[in-house]
């Protein structure tokens, strides 16, 4: 069993439908602060290795995920246990080594599943997964490359990725060598209108590529488009250190006993700069979405490491421009592809290795998604509760999803490496037999930690994908795509496009760094003006000004909000009454009424159903009763 603190409520049974209770379950690495309390005034802060000075009446565990677990020991014979339990936690923390070998989750749940069990979300570890996804996106000019099957191009890259059709694997290998850590340009997403969103690491300027290599690099970046925009994703966005500092400050601010006076709360919140970083991310993602949507081009996200902000921006851009990414399934696939498979160093970034490069970029991303959810409540299939569940899962030591830095380490662990000899051929399917490796569980196996009632709440009852009349059609829509000028190369920076003489920094011309010194100050126009620039002539859209499916988020000061339900969970009084019944209440009522109607007049029910859209299909009456019983949100840890 992985190192954790678990509280088991009375009456809770091991063999309930969830093996672990997500509410009272704290991974040791998640413990941010441990306090023992006795009486009204005695509070001791327990660091790893400290010695408990009294018998506690209560211990309070402040999670790094903003949760608070408070365990009271009832008086009367429990004193010795109270002391023992507390000291055990202290010692376990001192000994715990986050990088210790993962022992795997050996639960009956895992055993139940047969070998043919399919993961709920494609883990993007097989070529089939990539091929299926490629077909889904209708990315015709692209193919799945197997050049990294042995992780010899880059260990941080997935074993498979998409490259342009015309580029040979040998060229890919050579071209990738000229990028930082071998992370060359790969397709992230193919826009149905024809644009391609690419991501890559920084140019490895010390290398000395020959002409053919440069040509290969260039054609990979251009991906067959004449209009190419290079986006420096580090520009205007916070550094890793900034993100980490902001997050630490935010956590300090949200502690229940933070010393900030109520009338100084807003400036204290501002002082964390967390919201400001969210604003920067949303603004940039919105700009890039406009670039991708406005005309057929290749948009390349370039970050030196290609493992942090690139993933954040690429995911946000897809959420803004692709309605399918806003479904529950689509979003999970997106995270799996752009973060997990793409090699975001989760373990390091979330402080698992104790290295200095801790920075919760992924949590920043989740907050950005939450902002979008607030701004477009009818456009997302998943709810805030789903985001909370994901937020709380990043340090849970049950699955490997967030516990490794690279796909290589993850693959090594789950024993999948023994299948690396197979060669990808189209239509080839992996033999299910002979798969000796463990059944791999991922974070997307929600039923490990969440009950059915909780999982039901992952659905956003207000989801209404049809609220836009021109709902998304996954076919090329050349009408709003303006062809670019022949062979133009741009650098997108500070909200403006600057022409570049060439794509690569090598050859005789100044390097990209030199180009960047010519960056224009951001013109004093907002990103809407980028939309203006791109769509100056709205005539061919008629009344609907934006391409269907595209969301342009707001990011003015008053529009970026504080994720209260996540960050203030340590302050139980703030959480009360937050989930006032609105849409879900109505939905319950709808189902209830329809049920009644069905009972009374069994014959007319089909007519009723066909007439109206049926938003309640996921709920059946018995489940409703379950929800009503536990109306308080399932992710609140403290209940008083």
């Amino acid at each position: 069993m992985p190192p954790r603190v678990t509280f088991q409520p009375c009456g809770w049974q091991q063999n309930e439908d969830t093996p672990l209770s997500s509410e009272y379950d704290f991974a040791l690495v998640n413990i941010g602060r441990l306090e023992a309390v006795s009486g009204l005034s005695r509070v001791q802060l327990l660091r790893p290795g400290s010695l408990l000075k009294f018998i506690p009446e209560e211990i309070m565990i402040h999670g790094r995920d903003f949760r608070l677990l408070r365990v009271g020991f009832e008086a009367g014979g429990l004193e010795p246990q109270a002391f023992q339990v507390t000291m055990a936690i202290v010692q376990a923390r001192a000994q715990s080594n986050p990088a210790q070998p993962y022992s795997g989750i050996t639960l009956s749940k895992a055993g139940q599943a047969s070998g043919s069990r399919k993961p709920p979300v494609p883990l993007m570890e097989t070529a089939e997964d990539w091929e299926t996804e490629r077909k889904k996106q209708a990315a015709r000019g692209w193919r799945v490359s197997t050049v990294n099957e042995r992780f010899d191009v880059a260990t941080s890259l997935p074993r498979y990725f998409w490259v342009p059709n015309r580029i040979l694997d040998s060229e890919v290998r050579r071209a990738f060598g000229h990028f930082h850590q071998g992370r060359g340009p790969r397709l992230s997403w193919h826009h149905p209108g024809g644009s391609d969103l690419l991501r890559c690491g920084g140019f490895y300027t010390a290398s000395d590529p020959n002409k053919e290599d440069i040509r290969a690099v260039e054609s990979m970046l251009q991906a067959g488009h004449s209009d190419v925009v290079l986006v420096d994703t580090m520009d205007e966005l916070p550094s890793l250190a900034d993100v980490q500092l902001a997050h630490l400050r935010l956590r300090a601010l949200c502690l229940p006993d933070s010393s900030v006076a109520e009338d100084k709360w807003l400036s204290a919140l501002e002082g964390t700069r967390w919201l400001d970083y969210i604003r920067a991310c949303l603004r940039k993602a919105s700009d890039i979405s406009v670039l991708v949507t406005s005309r057929v081009r290749s948009v390349i996200l370039q970050e030196r490491g290609d493992r942090d902000l690139n993933g954040l921006l690429s995911s946000l851009v897809q959420l803004l421009s692709a309605p399918e990414a806003r479904t529950l399934f689509g979003f999970q696939s997106l995270v799996q592809r752009e973060w997990v498979a793409a090699g975001h160093p989760f373990l390091t970034r979330l402080g698992g290795t104790g290295a200095s490069e801790e920075a919760p970029v992924f949590l920043l991303f989740l907050d950005c998604v939450w902002q979008l959810l607030q701004q477009f409540p009818a456009d997302f299939e998943f709810s805030e509760f789903f985001l909370l569940a994901l937020h709380d899962s990043v340090r849970v030591p049950d699955t490997l999803t967030f516990l490794r830095n690279t796909p290589w380490e993850r693959g090594k662990q789950s024993g999948q490496l023994n299948s690396y000899t197979q060669v990808y051929t189209p239509g080839y399917s992996q033999p299910p037999a002979g798969n000796s490796f463990n059944l791999q569980l991922s974070v997307w196996d929600w039923d490990l930690r969440y009950s059915n009632a909780q999982i039901l709440q992952f659905q956003n009852p207000g989801y209404d994908p049809e609220h836009c009349p021109d709902s998304w059609l996954p076919r090329p829509q050349p009408s709003f795509m303006i062809p670019g000028p022949p062979s133009s190369v741009w650098l997108f920076s500070r909200g403006a496009l600057t022409p570049l003489n060439q794509l690569c920094p090598w050859r005789d011309s100044p390097s990209l760094l030199a180009v960047s010194s010519r960056w224009l100050p951001r013109p004093a126009i907002s990103s809407e003006s980028l939309a203006d620039q791109e769509w100056g002539l709205p005539s061919h859209w008629g009344a609907c000004p934006l391409p269907p499916g595209l969301l342009l988020p707001g990011y003015l000061g008053p529009q970026i909000r504080f994720w209260r339900r996540c960050y203030l969970r340590g302050r139980p009084e703030v959480q009360m009454g937050l989930s006032a019944p609105t849409i879900s209440g109505l939905q319950d009522e709808l189902s209830h009424l329809q049920e009644l109607l069905r009972k009374w007049t069994p014959r007319i029910s089909p007519e009723v159903h066909s007439k109206k859209r049926d938003p309640h299909t996921i709920l059946n009456p018995t489940e409703i009763v379950g929800i009503l019983k536990d109306q308080f949100h399932p992710f609140w840890i403290t209940r008083c």
Binding site: L40, E57, R70, G72, E74, D257, E262, D263, W265, L266, L269, E270, F376, P377, D379, G462, D464, H467, C468, R494, P499, P521, R522, A524, I525, S526, E528, D532, E534, G542, C544, P545, L551, L552, G554, L556, G557, P558, Q559, E573, V574, M576, G577, A580, T582, I583, G585, D588, L590, L593, L597, W600, V608, L628, K629, D630, F632, T638, R639, C640
Partner: protein, 776 residues
């Protein structure tokens, strides 16, 4: 920040020099001119409204997203409003204009809605007042509902400029006599065609009967009585003709100090405790008079301290609480955050000079703007700017005071006596808030309107002075009523299902403060209203003027638009005899078939048991102590009351308390951001949820009907479908306001797209093409 638009125009790269950017080029102007004269829009005048002056070929700037363009038209000033008549209207004749105000169009500014007028002279912006020696090229009008209008007068004939500018300045800023209010000319002219809405059940509290009814409703009639001692305002002009006092209080006491020093009943709680108010006795130097005052007060207190009256707690709102000056200062800082449309102002020579200067967020734009980062800085500073206005903190303090009083009444069963100099400012605010929290009736629309009628209009709140409608004394201007509405908004925002009205209702109510055809907000007291009701001149033997009240919403909005004022989520209190009242069900608010209380079951206790209660206190104490600075005992009571209420499931038909922690007090975004095009989120925000909600409610209703049909053979009445939001697929978050900013009418950028970006030379040219009209 919100300043984006401003900087978009003039700040940023080239600030501070160019004050404005227009994409209308000189050659375009002439072609436009011809078209304008062809499709002139006719001025719509209200009964009794007179055209005072006008000017043609005025260019009105329209801000859309980040670029601005101009519309030509006529600028007129009447004795009711300033109106701009452009040819822009044609674009607005579609579904989105369903929420049109019938009285004030979107290019109309009532004279009382004008906040500040600025003129631009040679790129310098100055406040305009009094006699002008020189006339500006541009006129900028800041409105009290936070709209900003900018008119270019460069192409207008000189004598027209003179006439319109001095006309506007005179009619909006010169002190006015009460009798010259448009209210009276309108009422005189519209005498015959004013129809009072028979369905309007708002209680006006202008008859003895109304007070008796209220006493009966709150079961206060055992200990309190309605008196008519002030009929005809014989005793006092401050008090209404009828009011309620403790039963044993002798009537001569009321007359003794003209109504000062006597406890006047506001409201009774279900447990018998009551909320009272008292205006302080006049301050006297003479010891003898002081002695008399003292013994008088002793007598009064004796009456209300004896059983059957509960223990009285006196709450002095004149000291140790907010000062009116504080409110005014905070609001004038706060509103600057949202008044966008132009670069920095020169210091305004008003009373509050320093504060405005220190604060003005636009001061950032005055800096040399070589470093382009400062533009984004304003957004970074948003929260501290907001905080430094302390408007939100004032709201918090009001809500907290109201909770404290609620605690005394509800938990300790005490009477609370509010004390204030005239009992007509903070008294109105606090007593209304207490009633909103304690009395679910006040959360219905009729109840809320009656509450305002009772506490504010009859309570003698000096609307005329506090809104400075007559421009007679700037120092009296304090937005107490707006503060109240903002406090109510916090409650509505935190507990939407508890209120029958929406935030849109509150927003249009705040706008109605400045529409001088309603009597509600245009008098200082009921006495002032009654004495001015007669027709002008002596020859009137006919009936008195019939003034409109703002509660007749059909004057301003069509029934369709009025659906937006009604909260679809509001659940009417379950009635016992609901079986018999099927027919009524859909006409009024809908009723959930699952009672809400059921869904709010008590929280699971889990590991958190009663015994650890003191630990909760320990934990929470640290936090709450920050909220409180009064005595320990009070602190404990307040904390316990506040925490225990919030830890229980909410009963929307019972006591309702707001959250007052730092993150919980928010900006009333709808009111303050609605005119800022950058703030809109297309297809997003609450509007999206709202349309989904309405759709589902419709579905529920039709199903309920079906069930009723099956159950009883008779036809159920057709539900009135809330159709305003239907079929409107991607509404902007600014809906239903700010209809002007529509993407489809977006102007063509002269330098759009890639062509301009061909090389660096072109980039330089592109900058030059931001034509500053001032240089033309």
């Amino acid at each position: 920040m919100l300043g984006k638009g401003v900087v978009g125009g003039g700040g940023g790269t080239k600030a501070p020099k160019p004050s404005f950017v227009s994409y209308v080029r000189p050659e375009e102007i002439h072609t436009n001119e011809k078209e304008v004269t062809e499709k002139e829009v006719t001025l719509h005048l209200l009964p009794g409204e007179q055209l005072l002056c006008e000017a043609s070929t005025v260019l009105k700037y329209v801000q859309e997203d980040s670029c601005q363009h101009g519309v030509y038209g006529r600028l007129v000033c009447t004795d009711f409003k300033i109106a701009f008549l452009g040819d822009d209207e044609s674009a607005l004749d579609n579904d989105e204009t369903q929420f049109k105000n019938k009285v004030v169009g979107e290019n109309d500014i009532t004279l009382h809605c004008v906040d500040q007028i600025y003129g631009v002279f040679d790129e310098k912006k100055k406040t305009l007042f009094g006699q002008l020696k020189k006339y500006p090229e541009k006129l900028i009008i800041h409105c009290k509902d936070l709209r900003v209008f900018q008119f270019c007068l460069r192409y207008t004939k000189e004598e027209e400029v003179k006439r319109i500018v001095s006309g506007i300045i005179h009619h909006t800023q010169a002190p006015k006599l009460l009798k010259r209010l448009f209210l009276f000319s309108y009422a005189t002219a519209a005498q015959n065609n004013t129809v009072t809405d028979p369905k309007n059940h708002t209680i006006m509290f202008d008859t003895l009967k109304d007070w008796c009814w209220e006493l009966e409703r709150t079961k206060g009639n055992m200990k309190y009585k309605a008196v008519s001692v002030n009929e005809g305002y014989k005793v006092c002009e401050r008090l209404p003709a009828y009011f309620v006092v403790p039963t044993p209080l002798p009537e001569e006491n009321v007359q003794r100090f003209q109504g000062h020093g006597i406890p006047i009943w506001c409201w009774s709680c279900h447990n018998g405790s009551a909320l009272l108010k008292m205006s302080a006795l006049p301050k006297e130097q003479d010891d003898g008079i002081l002695q008399i005052q003292k013994s008088f007060l002793d007598g009064v207190y004796k009456t209300i301290h004896r059983p059957p009256y509960e223990i009285v707690k006196t709450e002095d709102l004149s000291s140790n609480f907010l000062s009116l000056q504080e409110i005014q200062t905070a609001y004038s800082k706060f509103k600057q955050l949202f008044l966008i449309g132009f670069p920095p102002l020169p210091p305004y020579c008003g009373s509050d000079n320093t504060a405005t200067l220190l604060f003005s967020p636009s001061s950032a734009y005055q800096l040399p703007s070589d470093n382009s980062t400062e533009f984004w800085d304003t957004d970074i500073k948003w929260f501290s700017l907001l905080e430094s206005s302390s408007w939100l903190d004032i709201i918090r303090r009001c809500l907290k005071k109201a909770i404290e009083i609620t605690e005394c009444m509800e938990a300790q069963n005490m009477n609370v006596l509010l004390l204030e100099e005239n009992a007509s400012d903070l008294c109105c605010l606090i007593s209304s808030l207490v009633q909103l929290m304690m009395d679910p009736h006040c959360r219905t629309r009729i109840g809320f309107q009656s509450l305002i009628q009772k506490e504010w209009v009859m309570g003698g709140h000096c609307f005329l002075d506090r809104c400075n409608h007559l421009r007679q004394n700037d120092k009296e201007e304090v937005p107490v009523f707006l503060l109240f509405l903002d406090c109510v908004w916090q409650l509505v925002h935190q507990h939407p299902p508890a209120f029958e009205f929406t935030e849109t209702y509150l927003t249009v109510l705040s706008d109605s403060l400045y529409i001088p055809i309603f009597s509600t907000f245009f008098f200082n007291s009921p006495h002032q209203k009654d004495t001015n009701m007669g027709r002008e001149g002596q020859d009137t033997q006919s009936k008195p003027l019939n003034l409109l009240t703002v509660w007749d919403w059909s004057v301003q909005f069509e029934p369709k638009a009025q659906t937006l004022l009604k909260n679809p989520l509001y659940v009417e209190k379950p009635k016992l005899d609901k079986g018999q009242r099927k027919g009524m069900r859909f006409k009024h608010q809908r009723q959930l078939s699952l009672p809400l209380t059921q869904s709010k079951s008590s929280p699971k206790r889990g590991f958190f048991r009663e015994e650890t209660d003191h630990l909760i206190k320990n934990l929470l104490g640290k936090r709450i102590s920050k909220l409180i600075n009064s005595s320990d005992e009070l602190q404990d009571n307040f904390r316990e009351f506040y925490d225990s209420w919030h830890s229980k499931p909410t009963d929307y038909h019972g006591l309702l308390l707001p959250h007052i922690e730092g993150p919980e007090i928010k900006v009333w975004a709808q009111r303050y951001l609605r005119w800022i095009p950058e703030a809109q989120i297309l297809g997003g925000s609450r509007v999206a949820t709202m349309s989904k909600l309405l759709e589902m409610i419709e579905e529920v209703q039709s199903l309920q009907e079906k069930i009723d049909e099956r159950h009883h053979s008779q036809q159920a009445p057709q539900a009135e479908a809330p159709c305003l939001l239907r079929n409107s697929a991607r509404l902007s978050s600014l809906f239903p306001f700010a209809l002007l900013q529509r993407h489809s009418s977006k102007p063509v950028l002269p330098t759009s797209g890639w062509k301009a970006l061909g090389d660096e030379d072109d980039l330089a040219k592109r900058e030059d093409e931001f034509v500053d009209l001032g240089d033309v």
